[in-house]
Symmetry: C2
Subunit: 264 residues, 2 copies
């Protein structure tokens, strides 16, 4: 799938300050990618046409379908159809049990349980004792944003990355911010990476689902140039994740579990 491109040129009519021109402009590519799990249609991900293996395996690992790379018996991508065939050691779960709402939920008082039963069963508190300096946060975010060439060209993709200290270990772009983070999950899962000292970097907002995915990845810190939601902060408090938001230029906000951040 790496042969395909994040964007391609399209004819566009530009109207700027009263002047109309016809040009060719890059537009971000988007495809539907269907996951066939043990012969049954499991899900269709609408995504950028790159790094499909990290995305599909990251998605399946995040949902708890596979718990170790050895559980994947067979993997085949048929790009002309936009279909990935995955065979696993264990049988596929019943799909209708999957997005079941956890009704002892965060709308009430008390501890905020995750809204899907499957997440509540899978996600455990993050234990990482990493210490991250303000200087490293600034450096990581500069590097993270400088590299987002496709966004600059098309305005159309989100990025997610995995970082340690002041280095970015892996970075993925996708039209969907969930997909970009699922690819990070796939990368850590397929390479059996111990994420206990690492941080997740995001270009977009930290909504609750992004926080849950960070917890599944096992990274104790999530950093974004954008804002978290209230529910994401509730979950981060519950699962021990440090949220750094609005990380831009020489400033950032810390929303919870501040003990992992050092200033100087």
């Amino acid at each position: 799938m790496e042969k395909q491109e994040l964007s391609s040129s399209r004819p566009v009519i530009k109207y700027i300050n009263g002047i109309k021109t016809e040009v060719s402009d890059p537009v971000v590519n988007e495809i539907p990618l269907t996951v066939m799990l043990n012969g049954e249609e499991f899900a269709t991900l609408v995504c950028s046409p790159v790094f499909e293996k990290e995305l599909v395996i990251g998605f399946l690992a995040g949902e708890g379908i596979v718990k170790d790379p050895n559980e994947i018996k067979d993997y085949f991508y048929r790009d002309t159809q936009g279909v990935v065939w995955v065979e696993t050691v264990n049988p596929a779960p019943q799909l209708d049990t999957f997005l079941c709402r956890n009704f002892a939920s965060c709308c009430g008082k008390g501890r905020p349980l995750l809204y899907f039963v499957n997440d509540q069963n899978l996600v455990t508190p993050v234990e990482g004792k990493v210490s991250l300096s303000a200087e490293n946060i600034f450096k990581l975010m500069r590097q993270f944003e400088e590299e987002s060439e496709t966004f600059k060209m098309t305005g159309g993709v989100h990025s997610a990355a995995l970082a340690e200290g002041d280095s970015i270990l892996a970075k993925y772009e996708d039209i969907g911010r969930h997909n970009a983070l699922d690819r990070v999950m796939g990368y850590t899962f397929l390479n059996r990476i111990n994420t206990g000292g690492m941080a997740v970097l995001l270009s977009g907002r930290i909504a609750s689902e992004m926080l849950i995915k960070t917890a599944r990845i096992g990274a104790p810190v999530v950093i974004s140039r954008s804002a978290p939601t209230g529910l994401a902060v509730d979950y981060a408090l519950q699962y021990g994740i440090t949220i750094v938001g609005f990380a831009r230029g020489n400033s950032f906000n810390v929303y919870c579990n501040e003990e992992r951040i050092t200033y100087s």
Copy 2:
């Protein structure tokens, strides 16, 4: 649900140019909202806690579950549980037929079919013969962005609106851009609005799913300050929708079906 707020204050540590302060800052609210359709769990929408009826009915109407407001026999929102109970005249569809992939799909050559079978069965070409001037596009987008106070405060919500001529008829904000547009769908459906001469305004990107929702709403023009995806342009060509992207200040791009835009 209107009693709840889009955002609420949280304690935040701000670090700006080497100075650390503890303040109270607005963070956008997010809740899981579960739709019980005829007594069965149908879907959980993760959304902003406002205008839940437009969202839920817009979601159900968009999926073809209800085709007329009269088909809704009963509607009840239990806000302490985050659950909406909907009773319809017709029985609920089988959930597992719902997100089935349409395999004669857009990845091959030829006409780009919508990726889900349900969408392909529901969405029809838009016929609106509206003419929209560049001046109206600029005026609408200025008005659309000026009003987004929550975004300015929290950086955390997307907006979608319905416009006619140079007026905005309805505007909704949500942490999820799909939800914001589903609310527009709910508004047009519940008020039986003829959308044939109208435009949809979006704060976020025009991905294929947003284009499909615009087609379901029946608006012939979609305008965003951001970019469309290639698949959205393909679908817009197929379904006769005009895409205006990067509408900012005194400029915009037209990606297809330009005959509805007038300059002068």
